[in-house]
Amino acid sequence: MVLRRFYLFLLLSATVLIIAISIPSCQDQKEIKFRKYMSIGKQIYIQRCQHCHGENGQGLGKLYPPLDSSDYLLENRDILACIIRNGQAGEINVNGITYNQVMPANPDLIEDEIAQICTYILNAWSNEAGLLEKEEVLESLGNCQTN
């Protein structure tokens, strides 16, 4: 009788364990990728972008444009990879304000890293523009306008 109870307990524990292990794998693979991109993207953002664009994507005065709730950022998803890799110069209009600072190029960043930064800045703070995959980066980089 005691033995039977023990087996029942064992069976129950095993079931609970199996369910616990299988929950993450039930999660959408895309969601996992998204979280990974956000996490790595944030680290690269801190090293490369935060100096000017700020910890909260707020920018700095009228010197460096914000990324949080930035119409320019959200409307130019297709050229973000080009801007990050090649830098940018000349006037741009962000949320009604004209900015005119040179943004340095980041020629050493690989496509995966660019996808991770793009995903981060498109979804950090109050932005919610979803995952930006490496394929999208490759396509963008193939169409960069030389300036």
Binding site: H51, C52, K62
Partner: protein
């Protein structure tokens, strides 16, 4: 026992009350004079040498414009991609706290006068949305700028092809008193250091209270 306790408490209170003073930085020289057969030693502190630069409005700017003020100096250039934006974010905190105080000034020296013309500095100040009555941007002759950085403020600033933007410079904020003596160096890229700087500025200002 009680008496001893209260006495020692009083002693501690007095020790704590002793006004804190900031150190005076830089090498010093001693001037020894014999007066009435007695030896008197005067300490001569390093001071910021005279300079003449041009501000963001195209006007001449000399130490005379800083008379009666303590000030914070730094070196930067407007196209610097690395530490300058953080330094300016931190300097803005100081500006926010002390703008309106006639005893306090901020002086940002550009070390890239070729690019950072008067117009560029004016635009930079406007875009930072600061009050140039309390924060001055300076440009001028390159050699004079590097000279005042290295020999006056004792910080590094020089062209360097390996540095981001081609110019190497210290990220220091330098606190200077009304006698043009250096009273502290702070890392302008570290928030905590700048917190300390603002505390020290209050201490320095209190040295002039009632003087």
């Amino acid at each position: 026992m009680k008496r001893f306790l209260s006495l020692s408490l009083l002693f501690i209170a007095m020790a704590c009350h002793q006004e804190k003073r900031l150190p005076i930085m830089g090498p010093r020289q001693y001037d020894v004079k014999i007066v009435n057969g007695e030896e008197h030693t005067d300490t001569i502190y390093t001071t910021i040498p005279d300079f003449e630069f041009i501000n963001q409005d195209g006007n001449s700017f000399t130490p005379e414009d800083l008379r009666g003020k303590i000030y914070v100096a730094d070196f930067f250039f407007t196209t610097c991609p690395s530490i300058c934006p953080i330094m300016k974010t931190q300097m803005l905190r100081i500006h926010e706290k002390y703008k309106g105080n006639e005893e306090v000034h901020i002086v940002s020296h550009s070390i890239d006068p070729t690019h950072d013309t008067v117009e560029v500095l004016r635009d930079y100040a406007d875009r930072l949305e600061i009050n140039t009555n309390y924060w001055t941007f300076l440009t001028g002759d390159m050699d004079s700028i590097f000279n005042v950085a290295q020999k006056g403020y004792l910080v590094s600033a020089k062209p360097d092809s390996l540095a981001p933007g081609g110019l190497l410079h210290s990220g220091a904020f330098i606190l200077v008193d009304k006698e043009k003596r250096i009273r502290g160096y702070y890392d302008g890229t570290i928030e905590k250091d700048v917190d300390q700087l603002m505390k020290d500025m209050d201490i320095l200002l209190s040295e002039y209270d009632g003087a």
